[in-house]
Structures are given as C-alpha cells and as structure tokens.
C-alpha cells in the first residue's frame, strides 16, 4: 500500500474511531434524517419528495463543515502538520485526504438514507441513480472544498465554529433543504443563490429526481465543480504548516474568491 493509500485508509478509520467525527459524519445526519423524516414529512408532505437529496446534502454539510475544519485546525495547533512536514507528508495529501474521506463518509450515510427513505417515510427515491451519484460527488466536493478552506484560514477552533456556521446555517435554511427555492422571497432567493446547496438541490432535482424544479442542472453542476476546485485550490495555496497559523502565502481574505463561481451563478440566473 503506498503512502497516500495508507494515509487515506488511516484517515477514514479515524472518522469512525474519533467520537466527534463519528457524530458529525453519521450520528448527527442520520439522527436528523429520522427526526426530519418523521416531523417534516407529516407537517409538509412535499418535503418527502426531496428527502433523499436534502438529507444527503445535510450529511455532506455535517462532515464537511462541522467535522473536517475543526480537525484540521486542531491538528495544526497541536504541531501535527510540522511533524508531517518533517516526515515528508505533502500539504496536498494533508488537505486532499480529509476532503476525500469526508466525501466517503457522507456517501455511506447517503446510501443509508437513499435505501431507507422510501420504506420508512414514503420518501421519493431517485429515478436516475447515475445522475444522483454524479450530483452527490460534485456537491460533496464543493462543500468539502469549503470545509478545507475554513480549516486552513481559521486562526483558532473558535473561528472555525464561526466560519462553519456562517455557511452551514444559511445553507440549511435557505439552500433548498427545508424549503423549495421557489418558495423563498426574492431577497432571500438572491442570498440562496450564493450557497452551494441551492445549486446542489437544483442539480439533484433535474438530473436525479426527475423533478421540474431542476431548471438548470448542468449549469448548477458546473458552478459546483468550479466552486469546489477554487475552494480546494485556495486551501492548498493558503495552507500553513505553522502551529500558530502565522505564515502563509496569501491573506486569508483571498478565501472569499471561492464564492466567485456562486456570484457568477447569481448574476446569470438573475438575468435569465
């Protein structure tokens, strides 16, 4: 087994062994899935048509935004990155492996959701599983890229919580998980269009669920893919080995560039 594969396998096992990561990767999204399925399904039956993609995106957000960034900051603060640098672990591996493992954890949680939702809650299953997998992978990469970027730019674990919640909470409320995008007031719809989850839900609707609400799924896929690449690229560029996060190549404010594709999406869709 080569070093990257061993590192990946170790990181994946830690995601199950570490109680916080186990909570964020599995217990939190699956617990919320059961709760939302039972509660929201009876209050708003329309939610059951999107329960599979919505809770999949929720699982992605849990691991990528609430689990991964804190792990990266804690490792840097504990001097683990310095130890890695001395032993030849490249920065690319330090960032790419948590991104990939968080995607894999979210995929496993998603499999549970997608297979049980129809039986447990009469939720609508995807009509195109290949499309579902494609959208899932691109959306998970976009969110995990943002998670890595938050982990890289945060000066402390406290800042990580702040940055993560700044993305997580609006994504939950406005990003199409709880309410359809079409029901949002115009001002809120503009805000929603700078959130990756809005594009993820649109792409799921158009490419996986066969729903009319997916109006521009391929544009959404493109925006998510470019957003993910920019977020991950910026996290590599801004990465700091230093335990105090004092030395890096650029200013942390450069992280805002990761929202450029979503800004372009906002402009395109408002004109359209």
């Amino acid at each position: 087994m080569n070093a990257f594969a061993y590192h990946f396998s170790f990181d994946f096992r830690v995601g199950i062994r570490n109680k916080t990561l186990m909570l964020m990767n599995y217990l939190f999204p699956l617990g919320c899935y059961v709760m939302f399925g039972a509660l929201l399904g009876s209050i708003n039956p329309g939610f059951l048509q999107t329960i599979v993609p919505a809770m999949s995106v929720f699982a992605v957000l849990g691991g990528a935004l609430l689990g991964m960034p804190d792990t990266l900051v804690s490792a840097r603060e504990a001097g683990i990155f310095r130890s890695y640098k001395i032993n030849g672990v490249p920065a690319l591996s330090i960032l790419a492996i948590p991104v990939l493992t968080s995607m894999l954890h979210a995929l496993l949680a998603t499999v549970v959701i997608a297979l049980t939702a129809p039986a447990l809650f009469h939720g609508t299953a995807p009509v195109n599983w290949a499309g579902f997998l494609l959208v899932f992978l691109v959306a998970a990469f976009a969110c995990a890229g943002i998670g890595a970027l938050i982990g890289v730019i945060s000066s402390s674990t406290r800042m990580t919580v702040l940055f993560s919640q700044l993305v997580f909470l609006p994504s939950m409320i406005l990003g199409g998980l709880m309410l359809p995008f079409s029901m949002l007031p115009p001002a809120m719809a503009k805000v929603a269009l700078v959130l990756p989850t809005t594009y993820a839900m649109d792409a799921f609707a158009g490419l996986a669920m066969g729903q009319a609400s997916g109006t521009h799924p391929w544009l959404s896929i493109a925006i998510l893919a470019v957003g993910g690449l920019m977020a991950f690229g910026l996290s590599v560029y801004l990465f700091s080995w230093d335990s105090k996060n004092a030395t890096r190549r650029g200013h942390p404010a450069l992280a805002a560039l990761a929202w450029l594709p979503y800004g372009v999406g906002l402009l395109l869709l408002l004109r359209g």
Binding site: A3, H7, F10, V14, I80, K85, I86, N87, G88
Partner: protein
Amino acid sequence: MNDAIIQVHDLRKTYGSLVAVDGISFEVQRGEIFGLLGPNGAGKTSTLESLEGLRRPDGGALRIAGIDPSRQSRQLRALIGVQLQASGLPDSFRVDEAMRFFCAYHGVPPRDDLIDRVGLSDKRAAQYHQLSGGQQRRLALALAVAHKPPVVFLDEPTAGLDVASRAMLHDLMRELQAGGTTILLATHDMAEASEMATRVAILLRGKIAATGTPMELTATGAGLTKISVRTEGECLAKPGTDFPAVRQTQRQEDYFIYFSTDVGPTVSALIAYINAQADPLVDLRVERPTLEDRFLEITTKGAAR
C-alpha cells in the same frame, strides 16, 4: 580530518525586531553527538528548526551532507530524523499505525523492531493519547529513526522522563552513534549533555558563548576544583600547610577540603607533603566543576552584561 556532516555558517534568524539567532557558525562531524545548550530563548529551537527545514533562515549558509535544508526539502527528508519537543501526532494514531504511516511516507518497510526496542511492544494497539508522556517520547524517537537517517535531531528528548525511560533513550542514542548516526541534541539537562555529547555549544542570546568537549568547557571555566583529603593522622591540621593554587580551605568531619584553581600542582604537593609526614592517606577525591557550573557561569556573566 574534517568530516563535517552538518555545517552552519553565520546563521541569522529574526522574528520582526527580535534577533533569535545572531550569526552563529559551527560544524558537527559525522558520528558525533553534538549538544546544543542554552537558556530559554537562546536560539536553540530556531537553529534546529532552520536545519530541519521548518524555518527559512534570514542569513547565512546551512548544509547537511551538502544539502541546503531550505531549498532541497525532498532530499533532506531522507537524510534527517527529527524528534520534536512536542511530538505532534494525532490522538487517534495507534502505535503500530504511526510506525506504518511514517515508514510509508519515507518509502521504507515498517520497523516493528523499533517498537520493541523502545519498550512499547505491549502498546502496539494503544492510541497515542493513551500513552504516558515517556511512552510518547519513546515512540517519537522510534519514528524519528525508523528510516535510518544519517542525521538525527533530538529536541529535549528526555524532558520529564523517569529514570528507566531516560536510560533506555540514552542506550538507544549510543547505539545510533555506534552505528555512525550523527545526533544534534538540544537539551536543558547538563548531566545528559555531559554524559552523552562528544562536543557542546552553549548558546546565549543568539550567539555561541562557548564551544568544545564537556571536559574542555569545564576545564576553561573560573570554577574551583574541590579536593577532599583524609589521612589517618592530623598532619594536614598543622599550621602553615599551604599548597599551590589553593584559594580556599575547609574542614568537614575527618576531611580537609581544598578548592584549587589548578588541580595538578595542588594534588602533587598534597601527596608529597602527606608522604613526607608519614601520615597514611585514607581517601582523596577530586571533583571538577560540572558542565552545569560552567553553564551557569557563562549564562550568569552573559545576563549581567
């Protein structure tokens, strides 16, 4: 013959207006254990981290086996093993996983023998956070040498260790040295430096205040050598018994104690006098100033400037 594997020439490292390392130069010969001593803030860690490639020097030239640490990091990794002061491993790492992980990145087979060698055989499945401080340090040393690097940097390797763990680490360091490994040892422990180091450099405010073998350093200090003598009779109590180079005399129970600036002439004169008095010698002990005495002398002088 000069067989320097580590060459430091006019190294400078600053942090804003603070000059941490101020133009130091030294060489470490292949197979040496070189001790880097100094009070907190003297520049030891900055020097080590510059050599380890963790910090970029602001001036000077560094070479490890001809490699520039700040420019040739890939080649450097194979050449050096590093035990950081804070070990820096993920809490969830199991001992055997840590060995496999680092060996994988160094491209060498896992060294399970080293886990046994540092006394962690029964802790293979234990996670890092479950190990005691001493066990964590032993693991860190095993990981640092797993890829058989020719140069090893140890930063306070025995700080906080119990006697048995310390002895085990010292044995391992001697084994490494016997195998030709060069060790650069930063420590606060003067007894450790005295016992383990072939040569030492004492850093003070970013400069080298003294360098040499522990014996040379203690010999060049202003410290007095303590000579304790006991005879059967009382010949040394007679008035007018002056000996060369003696600065101070004391009596403690049956012993006469002389503090000398030059031990050779003092001891020779003492023995000649005792023999001349036909007073049988029972005990004679010579206690040279320790490295710690010399270190305190240098650092106190430096602080007073």
